[in-house]
């Protein structure tokens, strides 16, 4: 027979239980596999889906997903990005933009950009695409990654309803871009792949209106949706954050291989793209890794796609590292060019000569870049004015 507890024993037990709860919760905080906070102390910070986090009702800014499969028990699997989120009814995707509502996948990021700006195209950065034109730039919330140094974490790591947003459906975006005399529309800032439906619908209308489309992305996308996107894409800047899968998992919460596939697909589809490599000290500043990366680029993509080395500044959670030394970026540029990359640049450093373009054939200065202005321009009809070599890019 169970012995009855007296008041004192009961309180002592309660105290002990509560103490264990505190100690347990503190211990759980250190456990590396917590859902959204697991970057602290783990080697893999990839995101997880948000169980039961979908809204009760759809809002005005929704669209049925363009690429998903229906599974048993009303579950769905999104096929846009390699996360391949499998969602039960009421669940939200890793990127925070997609939800399963009664067995149908919806995007909640459609026509509701939270950031709208008109930027110089060089800011993307795109140095070989319609220089000195403006890009009408939009972003909704969401990202498939969890980068520790995200520059736009307030929107990339937010859900659509958590931010103030504009009411700008695709036709209106094109109209506004025309009004602003923008040569292109850039899908940028957060991760454009997470608002794929909004992006591709807008891009189709923009193409009809003679406005170019720019995709600024982490490149984490499956091949079929990318092939569809490439039909309306004019240029892209895709991050190649490192050439090491472990670092991708540790700093970004993604995988390397799908991104390499993205580059190959864009190359095959003839889309102009430029690559960006943020040189994070201690993680991405290994010259040997760079050489391997250049080797892969040369073998699979050729030497003509521009490669930008950007300076790291302490940001977001990765806030206890020093910025990248200038000489590291300079040496990276030199290594890349020695390896055979024709156009390597340094970025995030105002006025640095490493942001100028030199002809890969005659080595003469083609474009001098001073910030967003180009005081010297020696490319005519896509060719070097000195040696008539074709300079890769879109120069009209």
């Amino acid at each position: 027979m169970m012995k009855a507890l007296n008041r004192r024993q009961f309180i002592s037990c309660s105290c002990g239980a509560a103490y264990l709860a505190v100690a347990g919760s503190a211990g759980a905080a250190l456990w590396p596999f917590n859902k959204e906070d697991r970057q602290d102390g783990a080697d893999d910070i990839r995101g997880t889906i948000f169980k039961g986090d979908a809204p009760e009702k759809l809002w005005k800014w929704h669209k049925e997903g363009f690429s998903y499969v229906r599974l048993k028990n009303s579950r769905v699997m999104c096929k846009i990005c390699p996360n391949r989120c499998t969602l039960s009814p009421g669940d939200r995707s890793v990127c925070r933009s997609k939800v399963n509502m009664d067995g149908t996948l919806y995007s909640l990021a459609y026509g509701n950009p939270c950031s709208v700006n008109i930027d110089p195209v060089e800011k993307k950065p795109l140095y070989h695409f319609k220089p000195q034109t403006l890009a009408f730039s939009i972003a909704t919330t969401g990202c498939s990654f969890r980068c520790l140094n995200c520059q736009n974490w307030e929107i990339s790591q937010a859900k659509p309803h958590e931010v103030d947003h504009y009411d700008l459906f695709p036709a209106k975006v094109v109209e506004e871009a025309e009004k602003a005399k923008a040569a292109s529309i850039a899908y940028t800032y957060s991760e454009a792949t997470t608002y794929y439906e909004y992006m591709i619908d807008t891009a189709r209308l923009a193409r009809e209106a003679g406005i170019a489309n720019i995709w600024v992305s982490n490149g984490y996308i499956n091949t079929p949706p990318l092939l569809e996107l490439c039909k309306v894409l004019d240029a892209a800047n895709v991050n190649l954050k490192s050439y090491n899968d472990a670092i991708y998992r540790k700093l970004n919460g993604g995988r390397l291989h799908p991104i390499l596939n993205t580059f190959k697909t864009m190359h095959e589809q003839g889309v102009h793209f430029e690559m960006t490599n943020l040189v994070v000290p201690g993680y991405v500043d290994d010259p040997e890794m760079l050489k391997k990366m250049c080797g892969w680029i040369l073998e699979n993509l050729g030497p003509d796609y521009p490669l930008h080395f950007l300076r790291f500044y302490p940001l977001y959670k990765l806030s206890r590292l020093a910025p990248t030394p200038l000489s590291t970026l300079e040496s990276f540029r030199a290594i890349a060019m020695e390896e055979g990359i024709h156009y390597a640049y340094v970025g995030n450093i105002p006025g640095h000569p490493g942001s100028n373009t030199y002809c890969h054939n005659c080595k003469k200065l083609l474009i001098k870049r001073v910030g967003y202005t180009l005081p010297i321009m020696n490319i005519k009809e896509g060719r070097c004015t000195f040696c008539d070599t074709v300079i890769p890019g879109v120069w009209d």
């Binding site: 105290c15 906070d37 030394p325």
Partner: protein, 708 residues
């Protein structure tokens, strides 16, 4: 009796060692984790709570009859041994448990603080009542209050030793070694004089001493950065100053956060040219804090005088040594608190440029309040300009940032006719009584001043569209940020949590539940001491804040304030002991509580109506009075519980747990969210409730306790 003397010395040594260890761990956590009030409060909270639990656990030992002097010596040796290892654990585990270079969120920080301080915190709490058991095993009537006093003497000595000597002359592991050595020697001295015991204890003592000596070799190794080299390291009074060198770049880190790098041209240009381009021919500039590269930019204006204010001499030393700053003609470096300087000087300047970190601590928030902006406006020449920058946004202004920028805009606009806010990764505020022009590149071109960033990137980054966006986003109905109601702190705390997608609510709920359970099982005298510990620690935190707000961050004076608080406990305990023998203890407790209430009411009145009365001596006196009253209550509350071992343990615990909650609630909830005045009012109300409780419960006590 002689043995008791040795044990008493050991109690004092434990006090010295525990306070030094606590302060060292505090600085270490602030350096390795996050230097904000949350971390600070969590450390105090964990330490005091663990101390309370350790004290409570001591009862178990009593139950199993394993009290001996030799046991106390062993526990003391253990305590001496683990202190430096806790420091090393913080340093080494940081990069093992977390990704190097990453900031750590609230719950992982809490977990680390809790588990790393657990051995030391529990042992410190445990050793004090254990000492009492040992003393009473030899002298059954040994008074608990005397032990409390001895512990306080140790605390005072430890606090003073650390604040005025160790911090200046030795590194953390050296300080830990010295404090542990004192404990070690006292422990060995306390070993029973029989030869057999002495010889048995000699070897472990020597081993511990050797191990402690070995830890000294790990000082620099344990501080090596993840990337680059540690080229400079000093513990200044204000924090840890390190310089990391990587290739040709030097980066100054304060408490683990990179502040200035030798290759950061963009920020230097923004900080200097945004304000100075607005002036026709500036002659004198006051810099409060300085980003690297600013002197080269200032030089372009050929100023007659540049006063550069920096609180920490160690910071300017490395800034000039590693060429983060260069000496320019007319430069005058002043090592003083910026607010203190402005309140004492009659100098007027063409421009005052504030270049400090974000207002995420009480100490820094003082530079972003209405009072400070008023002070600045009084030191500008006609047409002069004031500028400061805060972290901004790239493409979207999220809610906490929006509130921060809006509150600053509203606060600073009270003192300047013209106010211009320029958006960007850092948002720049410019205030003046003359017209301001946002076209900075054009102004610089007129003056023929060359720049790299502004001339070439300004128009692409600070577009009119972005400027309009920021203006539209400014919230009109936002609170201003004032000294006594630091609204920005609550915003910064929220921003910190949102960065880690977490919330403090679960922590508050669990802590609150624990407290309810604890209070439900507490006796009246424990409640009294709990509330006294709570109110005293809360009030003392407030006095330190008020002191900093009014008189600047002056290290020695803050140290003095803390020492005075600890010192006040001694006469308090003495008086309490005296009153205890007069009986009528419950009446005295009520009287003392009433005195506390009156003191807090007076403080509140002066704070609201006559803040100028709060001179340093008054604040010191007030702090002393508070701790004296607190010290006074301890022996009385102890006697209410019967003055036996178990009662002593319970009252020790109550005091510590009350102090833990007092720190937490005052610093993290009351002040940031309700302001200092409401915080004092809340503490006052708590004590009033306590008086009522005492009055209502008075009848339940034996008559002699009530009437004598």
């Amino acid at each position: 009796m002689n043995d008791n003397r040795a044990v008493e010395r050991l109690v004092i040594a434990t006090g010295v060692s525990s306070v030094v260890t606590q302060l060292l761990l505090l600085r270490e956590f602030l350096s390795q984790f996050q230097g904000n009030e949350f971390t600070l409060s969590l450390i105090f909270f964990s330490w005091l709570l663990l101390g309370g639990i350790g004290t409570w656990l001591a009862r178990l030992v009593r139950r199993f009859h394993c009290v001996s002097l030799l046991g106390l010596v062993v526990f003391s040796l253990l305590l001496a041994l683990i202190s430096p290892f806790e420091i090393l654990a913080i340093r080494y585990l940081r990069d093992i448990l977390f990704i190097p270079g990453v900031a750590v969120g609230f719950y992982p920080t809490l977990a680390c603080i809790f588990f790393i301080t657990l051995p030391c915190g529990l042992l410190v709490g445990f050793v004090l009542p254990y000492s009492l058991y040992v003393l009473r095993s030899r002298e059954p009537m040994y008074p608990g209050a005397r032990l409390y006093m001895l512990d306080n003497i140790g605390d005072v000595c430890g606090g003073a030793l650390f604040s005025f000597i160790l911090i200046r002359f030795v590194s953390p592991l050296q300080a830990s070694f010295l404090a542990s050595s004192v404990l070690l020697l006292s422990a060995f001295y306390a070993v029973p004089s029989e030869k057999r015991y002495k010889s048995v204890c000699l070897l472990p003592t020597i081993i511990v001493l050797v191990v402690l000596l070995c830890t000294l070799a790990l000082e620099k190794h344990s501080l090596q950065p993840f990337e680059g080299n540690l080229v400079y390291y000093r513990e200044s009074r204000y924090g840890r100053v390190t310089v990391h060198g990587e290739k040709e770049q030097f980066t100054l880190f304060i408490d683990g956060v990179p502040l200035y790098s030798s290759q950061n041209r963009q920020q230097a240009e923004e900080i200097i040219h945004y304000p100075l381009s607005q002036l026709d021919s500036p002659r004198s500039v006051l810099l409060i804090g300085a980003q690297s590269g600013v002197m080269q930019e200032l030089e372009k204006y050929k100023l007659a005088k540049t006063d550069y204010l920096e609180l920490d001499p160690q910071v300017t030393l490395v800034q000039f040594r590693y060429k983060l700053l260069t000496r320019i003609p007319g430069l005058n470096v002043i090592h003083q608190d910026g607010r203190l300087f402005l309140s004492q000087t009659d100098n007027k300047y063409d421009a005052i440029i504030l270049n400090l970190p974000e207002p995420n601590t009480f100490q820094i928030n003082r530079f972003y309040t209405a009072t400070f902006f008023f002070l600045v406006s009084r030191h500008l020449r006609p047409g002069g300009i004031f500028s400061f920058t805060v972290n901004g946004y790239d493409n979207y202004l999220a809610r906490p940032q929006q509130e921060k920028i809006s509150s600053l805009y509203k606060t600073v606009s009270q003192y300047f006719k013209e106010l211009l806010v320029l958006p960007g990764g850092t948002v720049c505020f410019l205030g003046s009584d003359s017209q301001l022009d946002p076209d900075i590149p054009a102004l610089l071109a007129e003056k023929d001043i060359p720049t790299q960033y502004i001339s070439n990137l300004f128009y692409g980054n600070v577009t009119l569209m972005r400027q309009d966006y920021l203006k539209e986003k400014l919230l009109p109905d936002i609170r201003i940020n004032s000294d006594t109601s630091p609204f920005l702190l609550s915003v910064m705390f929220r921003q910190w949590f949102s960065r880690f997608s977490s919330s403090p609510t679960p922590f508050y709920v669990i802590s609150g539940l624990l407290l309810i359970v604890y209070l439900a099982r507490s006796r009246l005298e424990e409640c009294v001491l709990f509330s006294t510990g709570f109110v005293t620690m809360g009030s003392e935190s407030l006095v330190i804040l008020v002191y900093q707000i009014f008189f600047g961050y002056v290290y020695e004076q803050i140290g003095l304030l803390v020492t005075v608080f600890l010192l006040g406990l001694l006469p308090g305990a003495r008086i309490g002991e005296y009153l205890r023998f007069k009986n009528r203890n419950i009446m005295w407790l009520i009287r003392l509580d009433v005195l506390l209430v009156v003191s807090l009411t007076l403080f509140l009145f002066v704070l609201v109506y006559k803040p100028l009365v709060l001179q340093p001596a008054v604040l010191l006196g007030f702090g002393f009075l508070l701790s004296t009253l607190c010290g006074c209550q301890f022996p009385l509350a102890l006697s209410l519980g019967g003055n036996d071992n178990s009662a002593a343990v319970r009252t020790f615990s109550a005091d510590l747990i009350g102090a833990a909650y007092g720190t937490l609630v005052t610093t993290l909830i009351l002040v940031p969210f309700f302001g200092i005045i409401w915080a004092v009012a809340a503490l006052l109300s708590l004590k009033l409730c306590n008086v009522l409780l005492l009055v209502c419960s008075g009848m339940q006590f034996p008559k002699k306790l009530v009437k004598g």
